[in-house]
Structure formats: structure tokens, C-alpha cells
């Protein structure tokens, strides 16, 4: 023991007159910028997806309705309520928040005289830290949920323009699993889908590799899953929670993936058998998606179903409107075959009103369902549209499907910015390429490109295929010389709607263009051909602005007649499917009511 060991400890006395080492002002000290303090929620950005609730390992978050927040498409109307008796401030909720609305302030302390204040809804229950810009945010480059979509492999534009073969290759199993993995299972898509497909469930089936189960889930709500897996307008993807800070889940492609994976011969077994016969019969006019969906449900309910189709093949607009490169006919045939497999009698080449009258149907069947689609093209009625080289898109598309000889223009202009305009432009472009070796196709529309009604993919693919898109151009005249179309004259559009939202386009007449063309195609909309009803029935029915008046379930003013699909509602396949379900349910209910009486 050295003397130093006795003296050394006294050196500590040198600190005797130092200030205390503790933090001088613990009350007002500020936390670091990243400090995980109390929760904040930008209530307008939050969509109530509930991912925060799912990730919370303490069960500290509950999704609850709050006053002033409505349930709308893409927003559940619920908001996270946090229980600070359970929260451990791990911030996983912030990390997985799909919109980035949930953050944390950097406040250290909070005292409240209300003993229940620890249970609160950030952003709704005002707190002193609201609006604090410092605190924990999801750091850049850090993510617990993948944000990037697995891109669909497509046939190269220079190859696909040569033919009508399907463009999208479909996901491989590996690709589908990676894409399916991105789903946060919020279910906002289910609420938005017109036919309420159980999207998270069938995506989970992909992750589990259980394709039979996936197909069964698909057919629960959509007998046109193969079709919708290719051409659905996918409103679900527009509201997908992951789309707020990344790419939305490719729900449509995942649906297609399931249908691709199940061998065709397995469908019948998975889809099931028709129900026990009820003795009731239903006639359906029009073998499009609405009519055939209703047929599927009605057959499953045990009713006898006969579908009358005026054209050579069933499918309606799916066959005669959508080009084969988007929806191959063999896929459609198989899809319809599954429905026919339930005992649905599809009679093609049978035109109601000509071959069979509505009165006959009324007499022979317990209910009649009208799903006749929109097969008459509308005209712009600008000067020159009566000329020989002016066509309606739907007519041309039908001729292409039928394999009729179509006059292939050397130069063509399409009027319209919807999917039909893209379909005809791209179809004719293929024919041009085959016949002349080059594409010379222009699409013009009133809207600016970002307001086109066509899907973004369609517009992109159009561009890739060498089709010229001129947006915000208003057609003024089809130029005709010696009876032949020579071009289309357009003005620049300055506005499309007036102050109260009515269609009233305004033009800049100084900005005039003439697009040379030997064919002009109008693709500005369609209408239903209701001539089959006959005068008496037309008179008897109630109408609303040229469309049959129906109730929510699709029943017209006549108790035996239902109507649905594009002809009364629209605008796409999946809405038609939803219509089909509604009408079938209504018909079955009506049968039960009659029997009950």
C-alpha cells in the first residue's frame, strides 16, 4: 500500500467548486431532432389503412371512426387511436405508414390533468405538440415495405406492332410472389372494387402458393377473372394504400397470374356445380360480361338460364370491342366455357326482336334480363362526318374481330381519348404495319393528355407503337375532296367545360391544324341499340335521359324485366360483372318472394 493510495483519492476535491454536473434545466431542454416523442397524424393525408395497427406489437393502436372523416373510396374513414399505456415508442407504425402521415414529435414530456388523455387519436385530439416539425420521420433509404412494383414483361413494341398477339406476358411464379408480398392487406381495394373482389385474400393465396384457393376466391365474386386480370380498369389500384408513397400493387396482374397458374381443366372442379333445380327460368339478352355473370349466379342458384346473343360468338364488347392483343379470344372462350359448363344455354346468332320477340320471352320465362351493351357508335356530327371514309370505332373493331375485310387506311386520324380510341388506333396501326410496312396514325382528343379517359398504360403503349397523340385538339371538320376524306381540321382547345361544369368546349381558332388522312375514325362514345324492345314495350317502360330507369338491383319499371351492364350503367367490364351479380340476386329474391306469397 503506497502513500499515494492514501493521498490520491483526495484529488477528487478539485471538483469541489465546480458547478453541479447534472443538466441545469431538465424541464426546458430540447430533445434531438430524431427523438421518438409523441405521435402526430396528418389527418387529411391518412387513409385509415390500418397498417400501423397491424404492425404494433403491443396492440396499442386501434382504428376507430372519427367525426368529420367520411368513409370514401380509398379512405376507410378510420383513424388510429393510440394507447400510451401500451405504446413502447418503437415507431414501427411510423415506418410502415403507407402515406407517411404518421410521425412523431420530439417532445420529451407531457402531463395532463385528464386521467384518460393517454388514449387519444393523433391529429384529431388536439395536443400541444401538434405541428411540431422536429421528431422522428421515416428516414430516407429506410423501408420495411417494398415500394417498387414488379414490372410486367411485355412484347417489344417493334415486335408486337406486327401482329395481334397478346402483349403482356404474365408474371412468373417468382415475380408474382414478390409482387404479392408487397400487399399490406388494408382492404381499401375490396371496398372500391365494384364487385368487391377479396383482393388481399387472393393475393395471400399467391404468397402461399395455393392457386386453387386463389381461383376459388376469384370466382366467389368474379366469373370474368381471366378477363379482368387483363383488361380491368383496376380502380382497386387507384386506391391501393401502397400507391401513396410507392407503386400500387399490380392487383390486376396478380389476378391474371392465378388464372394462368390453374390448368383450364381444373376450373370446373374449383368453380363448382349448378345448384339444385328450382324450376324457374331466366332469359338473358346479350352474352356480355353483365349477362353472363348473372347467368353464372343464376345457374349456381339452380335456375334454368338461356342467354340469347345476336352475334356469332358470345362475349359482347369483350370480344367485339377489345382487341385480341389485350384479350386473346381463346382466354375469353375458356372463361365463357366455364359459365356454359354450369348448364347455361348460350344461343348465338339469335336476335331478339327479329328471331324471337320480347313477348315470347316474357311468356316463356319467369324473368328476362336485358344486357345489350353499347354497340352503336356516337358521331361528333362535325361537317364531313357523313363522308365515306369516316367510320365509327366500334364498327371497325367488330369487323376486325369478325375477320371481315377492313379497309386499311394509309393515314388515319382517330377522334377520342378513351380506351376505345386507343383500341382502334392500335388495331389499325397493326393492320397498317402489316399492309404498308409503317404506321401513320394520329389520335386527337379534346382533353389534355393527363385528363385522357384511357388508361395510362394504353397511352404509353400507343406512343411506343409509333402512334401520334395530339391532345387538346377539337375536331372542326372532316376535309373531303371529291367524295374522299383528305384529313381532319382541328382547333386547339382552351377549355372543355363551362363554369357550372357543363360540356361546352372553347377553342383558340388561331391555332388550327389540318391532319392529313384518308380515314377518320370517331371514338367518342357509344349508345345502346334498344330497337329490340319494340314500340309497345318502349312506351311501357320508364326512361331516364334515354336510359332505362332501373332500381338499385337493376329491375326496370316492369316486374319481369331487369336491365344492366353498359346499356344502363357502364362504364367497364368489372362494373358489368357487379351489375350481373346484383341482378341475379334481385331475380332470385324476386322468385323467393313470389313463392312465399
Amino acid at each position: 500500500m503506497a502513500i499515494n493510495d492514501v493521498l490520491s483519492p483526495f484529488r477528487g476535491w478539485k471538483h469541489l467548486f465546480n458547478d453541479p454536473v447534472s443538466i441545469k434545466d431538465p424541464i426546458n431542454r430540447e430533445a434531438a431532432d430524431r427523438y421518438r416523442g409523441f405521435h402526430q397524424n396528418e389527418i387529411q393525408d391518412c387513409i385509415g389503412c390500418g397498417t400501423c395497427e397491424d404492425i404494433c406489437q403491443n396492440g396499442a393502436i386501434d382504428m376507430l371512426p372519427v367525426e368529420g372523416v367520411e368513409t370514401v373510396e380509398g379512405d376507410s374513414g378510420l383513424r388510429p387511436r393510440i394507447d400510451y399505456g401500451r405504446c413502447c415508442w418503437c415507431a414501427l407504425c411510423v415506418d410502415v405508414c403507407t402515406t407517411g402521415s404518421l410521425t412523431m414529435s420530439n417532445l420529451y414530456k407531457w402531463a395532463d390533468s385528464d386521467g384518460d388523455a393517454f388514449l387519444f387519436t393523433p391529429g384529431v385530439d388536439a395536443k400541444e405538440w401538434d405541428g411540431e416539425v422536429r421528431g422522428y420521420r421515416r428516414p430516407e433509404g429506410y423501408s420495411l415495405t417494398p415500394h417498387e412494383r414488379v414490372e410486367m414483361r411485355e412484347v417489344e413494341p417493334e415486335v408486337r406492332i406486327e401482329n395481334f398477339e397478346e402483349i403482356a406476358a404474365g408474371y412468373s411464379i417468382e415475380e408474382a410472389i414478390i409482387e404479392a408480398d408487397r400487399c399490406v392487406e388494408c382492404g381499401l381495394c375490396v371496398a372500391t372494387c365494384p364487385t368487391h373482389m377479396a383482393v388481399p385474400d387472393y393475393i395471400a393465396a399467391i404468397r402461399d402458393g395455393d392457386y386453387d384457393e386463389g381461383l376459388r376466391i376469384l370466382y366467389d365474386t368474379n366469373p370474368f377473372s381471366q378477363v379482368c386480370g387483363r383488361v380491368c380498369t383496376h380502380k382497386c389500384e387507384d386506391v391501393c394504400a401502397t400507391g401513396h408513397t410507392g407503386d400500387p400493387i399490380a392487383i390486376r396482374w396478380l389476378k391474371r397470374h392465378i388464372t394462368d397458374q390453374v390448368p383450364n381443366e381444373r376450373y370446373a372442379e374449383i368453380v363448382g356445380k349448378p345448384g339444385p333445380a328450382t324450376g324457374k327460368s331466366v332469359a338473358i339478352i346479350g352474352a356480355g360480361p353483365a349477362g353472363l355473370t348473372a347467368a353464372f349466379d343464376l345457374a349456381k342458384a339452380g335456375h334454368k338460364v338461356v342467354v340469347f346473343e345476336s352475334r356469332k360468338h358470345p362475349g359482347g364488347m369483350l370480344r367485339y370491342g377489345i382487341p385480341e392483343y389485350r384479350l386473346p379470344y381463346d382466354v375469353l372462350d375458356h372463361e365463357i366455357g366455364v359459365i356454359a359448363g354450369l348448364g347455361v344455354d348460350i344461343r348465338c346468332d339469335t336476335r331478339i326482336g327479329t328471331d324471337i320477340s320480347m313477348d315470347d320471352l316474357k311468356a316463356d320465362y319467369d324473368a328476362v334480363l336485358l344486357t345489350i351493351g353499347l354497340h352503336l357508335g356516337r358521331s361528333t356530327r362535325i361537317p364531313g362526318t357523313e363522308a365515306k371514309g369516316v367510320f365509327k370505332a366500334v364498327d371497325l373493331l367488330r369487323e376486325i374481330t369478325n375477320g371481315d375485310p377492313v379497309r386499311v387506311p394509309k393515314q388515319a386520324v382517330v377522334i377520342g381519348g378513351g380506351n376505345v380510341a386507343m383500341d382502334i388506333a392500335r388495331s389499325l396501326a397493326r393492320l397498317q404495319k402489316q399492309k404498308y410496312g409503317k404506321v401513320d396514325m394520329t389520335v386527337t382528343a379534346l382533353e389534355t393528355l393527363d385528363h385522357f379517359l384511357a388508361d395510362a398504360d394504353e397511352i404509353r403503349e400507343c406512343g411506343e407503337e409509333g402512334i401520334n397523340i395530339l391532345d387538346a385538339r377539337g375536331p372542326q371538320e372532316v376535309m373531303v375532296s371529291r367524295g374522299r376524306v383528305t384529313g381532319l381540321r382541328t382547333w386547339a382547345v382552351t377549355s372543355i367545360f363551362d363554369d357550372i361544369g357543363r360540356f361546352a368546349p372553347h377553342y383558340n381558332e388561331d391555332d388550327e391544324c389540318v391532319h392529313p388522312a384518308d380515314m377518320v375514325i370517331e371514338a367518342i362514345g357509344q349508345m345502346a341499340d334498344v330497337s329490340l324492345l319494340g314500340e309497345d314495350l318502349t312506351e311501357e317502360l320508364e326512361w331516364n335521359r334515354g336510359r332505362m330507369l332501373i332500381d338499385k338491383a337493376g329491375r326496370t319499371s316492369l316486374p319481369w324485366l331487369w336491365a344492366g351492364g353498359d346499356a344502363v350503367a357502364g362504364p367497364d367490364v368489372v362494373h358489368a360483372v357487379a351489375d350481373g351479380h346484383r341482378m341475379a340476386e334481385s331475380i332470385t329474391e324476386a322468385f323467393a318472394t313470389v313463392e312465399g306469397e
Binding site: M1, N4, D5, V6, S8, P9, R11, G12, H15, V21, S22, I23, A31, A32, D33, R34, Y35, R36, T51, D54, I55, Q57, C88, W89, C90, A91, L92, V96, Y136, P139, G141, Y142, S143, L144, T145, P146, I178, D181, R182, C183, V184, E185, A204, R207
Partner: protein, 392 residues
């Protein structure tokens, strides 16, 4: 009488079944419960002492006061949901749990962590080691009445916590190292501020050295006391500073380098005396080594680059069937995580091997016999054990 050789004549023989025939009614013995709320140990644990005069004849360790069932809880949670739980297994040095849990998950999931994340992880582990040792020094000195050391070390530990707060967003439970990487990079100006804090740590350690390690009282109370026979290291699973103070240069950082330890220059700190003083001094020097390692890391680590691997969606992250045991050198010795996965979204089994398990239970029972009761607290602290990691 040799102080540290058990004098078996003082206490009764053990029966073949291991029990003792201590006749408490004889008036010769006294039962004393040390703990469970005793400042001599960081956390709640008690030792049931039987004393004869002021000498301990038997000590039975009792744990369970802190049991929160972490391992079982984890079997009911998804892999990402386990990440906020594990840090709570060890309060003073939580980062080892975060790192080892993340590392086992990454190994079984086949994930490679970005290089920058590995450097940041190493930085955090070394900063955590500094904190742990600072807490230890305060406790060890406090056990012998040197309260001022605890005040100093707690102060500098608080400065370290400030740095942790800046870097990780939290002071105690950092929840920063997670499967796939780390949450963020270093904030602006962090390196400079950390260097300032390190200098403060060094200044404080100099003071601590003067009042604690060059202190006749502390030396008298610790030199030769609490001796661990190196022959016990193997059978009792003694690791870390407890073993290094006995001349065994065991250090997982060196023996089986993980993270970026193979890129750092250091030698394990050792001593030979294997008593309380040697253990304290090894820890003090190990703390200085950590300060040096932190400086090396700050100098060598890349400033740019990803901090996180692209993970699958953590909401339904399934990990293939497998099992692994990974270890690291924490301030108390070898810390290990054994993880079994069954292909589902949750761990099938997690076992946390904290060094306190062997040190605080089996080893303490052995060492405590024949120790003066006034030295028991110091002996408990000198093993540097944290009860929460005994009771996962």
C-alpha cells in the same frame, strides 16, 4: 486462515442430495436476504445468505423477480415485431440484443447487411459498452461507499445517452438496429460531438482512477477478494472481463470477429490476479479500449452508402426453416442468440444466452461462501451481472 480458501470446518457438510444440514435453531446461524431490491446488483435479484458470525456459509441465488417472458412473447410475434422487444432484455446495454437478434434473423433469411450499416452497428455496440462500464464503475465504487464515482460516471453516461438520442432517437431503448440494417445514418456534426463526449469520458476516467483505483480503501477491500480460480472458467462458463481478469484472453471480438471488428486494431485487455480489483481494472481499461475503438470506427467508417437492405414486406415476412447461434462480446462477456425458425412468420424458439446467467447464479453461489458479509455487495457487483438477461 487463507481468506479465500473455503474453510469447510465452518459450515456443515453437504448431504449426498446436495442439501445442507444447517441447524438454524442452533443459534449459530443467521439467514439474511440480500435483495431483491439491492443496489449492489443492477436489477432485481436476491441472494439468500446463511451467515455464521459475519461470514457467509451458504448463499442461494434467487431470480425471477424480473421475468417478463421475452422468449415466449417472441414466439407469438412476427419477426419485425420482436425487434422492439429484445432491447428490453438488458437495460444498461440493450444494443447487443438488437444486434444479435437482427444478425440471427438475417443469417436465417439469407440477408446481407450494407457495409455502412455494419460500421454503424459496431459504433453503437462500442458506445453501449462504454455506457455499461460507466454504470458498472459507479456501482462497484458505490458498493464500497465511494458514492462520488457513481455521480461522475452517471453524468458522463448521460452525455453518452445524449449522443445515443441524437443517433438513434432514444436514450435507453434505442430500437435502432433491426433486421436488414440500421434505421438511419449519423446526424450532421455527430462525429465531432461524440469526440467531445469521449474526451469527457476520458477526463472522468482519469478522476475515477485517482479516487477509486489509487485508493487504499478500495484496494484493501478488493485486492485478493472474490478470487475466481481460472479452473472454474470452463465448467462455469465464465467469459468476458471476469475471465480476462484471470489471464484468459477470451474476447469474441478477437476470437471470432463479427461486424467490422476484423478491420479494427486492438488487443483484449487482460490481468492475472482474478480478484475484484483485477476485474474492475480490466473493465476500466476495456472502457478506454472502447473509446479507442469508437475513434477508429469514426475514422474508418464510410460516410455514404445504404444503411438498410431491401427487405421483403415485414408484415408477412416468413423465414425458411433453420437454426443458428450467433454470439458477440458484450461488456459482461459472451452474449448469444439462438434462433430456430420453422418457415412461418414467427420465431419457433428464441434463446437468449446472457453472460449474467452463469455469472450471477452458479458462479456467485460458489464464490460467496466464506466471504465476509460486508463484501457480498461488492462481490456481486464485481461479477457485473444484469438480472434482466438471466430471466428472458
Amino acid at each position: 486462515m487463507a481468506l479465500f480458501e473455503p474453510d469447510r470446518s465452518q459450515y456443515p457438510d453437504k448431504n449426498p442430495d446436495g442439501t445442507c444440514d444447517i441447524d438454524l435453531t442452533s443459534g449459530k446461524y443467521l439467514k439474511v436476504w440480500q435483495g431483491p431490491n439491492h443496489p449492489g446488483i443492477t436489477g432485481n435479484m436476491s441472494v439468500e445468505l446463511t451467515v455464521c458470525g459475519d461470514e457467509v456459509v451458504e448463499g442461494i441465488t434467487h431470480v425471477g423477480y424480473l421475468h417478463r417472458g421475452f422468449e415466449k412473447l417472441m414466439e407469438r410475434r412476427s419477426f419485425i415485431q420482436c425487434f422492439p422487444i429484445v432491447c428490453r432484455i438488458c437495460v444498461p446495454e440493450p444494443d447487443f440484443n438488437e444486434y444479435l437478434y437482427a444478425a440471427t434473423v438475417e443469417e436465417l433469411a439469407g440477408i446481407k447487411v450494407p457495409e455502412r450499416a455494419e460500421w454503424i452497428r459496431t459504433l453503437i455496440l462500442e458506445m453501449g459498452r462504454i455506457n455499461s462500464y460507466l454504470m458498472y464503475l459507479g456501482g462497484q465504487a458505490g458498493a464500497f461507499g465511494l458514492g462520488i464515482v457513481g455521480q461522475w460516471t452517471t453524468y458522463v453516461r448521460d452525455l453518452m445517452l445524449d449522443r445515443f438520442e441524437e443517433l438513434t432517437g432514444a436514450r435507453i431503448y434505442h430500437m435502432f438496429i433491426l433486421p436488414g440494417g440500421v434505421r438511419d445514418g449519423l446526424p450532421e456534426g455527430f462525429k465531432e460531438r461524440l469526440e467531445e463526449t469521449l474526451q469527457e469520458v476520458e477526463r472522468t476516467l482519469k478522476d475515477v482512477h485517482e479516487v477509486m483505483f489509487q485508493n487504499a480503501v478500495f484496494k484493501k477491500r478488493t485486492i485478493g477478494v472474490g478470487y475466481i480460480d481460472p479452473a472454474l472458467f470452463e465448467p462455469f462458463g465464465v467469459t468476458g472481463p471476469n475471465a480476462r481478469a484471470g489471464g484468459v484472453a477470451k474476447d469474441v471480438r478477437k476470437d471470432q470477429p463479427y461486424l467490422v471488428y476484423d478491420q479494427l486494431e486492438f488487443e483484449p485487455v487482460t490481468d492475472t490476479a482474478s480478484d475484484m480489483f483485477a476485474r474492475s481494472d480490466v473493465r476500466r481499461r476495456d472502457l478506454l479500449l472502447s473509446v479507442d475503438l469508437v475513434r477508429q470506427i469514426l475514422r474508418k467508417m464510410p460516410d455514404e452508402g445504404p444503411i438498410m437492405t431491401k427487405l421483403p414486406n415485414v408484415l408477412h415476412w416468413k423465414i425458411p426453416r433453420g437454426e443458428t447461434y450467433l454470439r458477440g462480446e458484450c461488456s459482461r462477456g459472451e452474449y448469444g442468440y439462438y434462433l430456430v425458425t420453422d418457415g412461418s412468420g414467427k420465431p419457433r424458439r428464441v434463446n437468449v444466452r446472457g453472460p449474467s446467467y452463469t455469472h450471477a447464479m452458479a458462479l456467485l453461489e460458489r464464490l460467496i461462501v466464506n466471504v465476509n458479509i460486508s463484501d457480498v455487495a461488492g462481490l456481486m457487483v464485481s461479477l457485473h451481472t444484469y438480472p434482466p438477461e438471466i430471466e428472458r
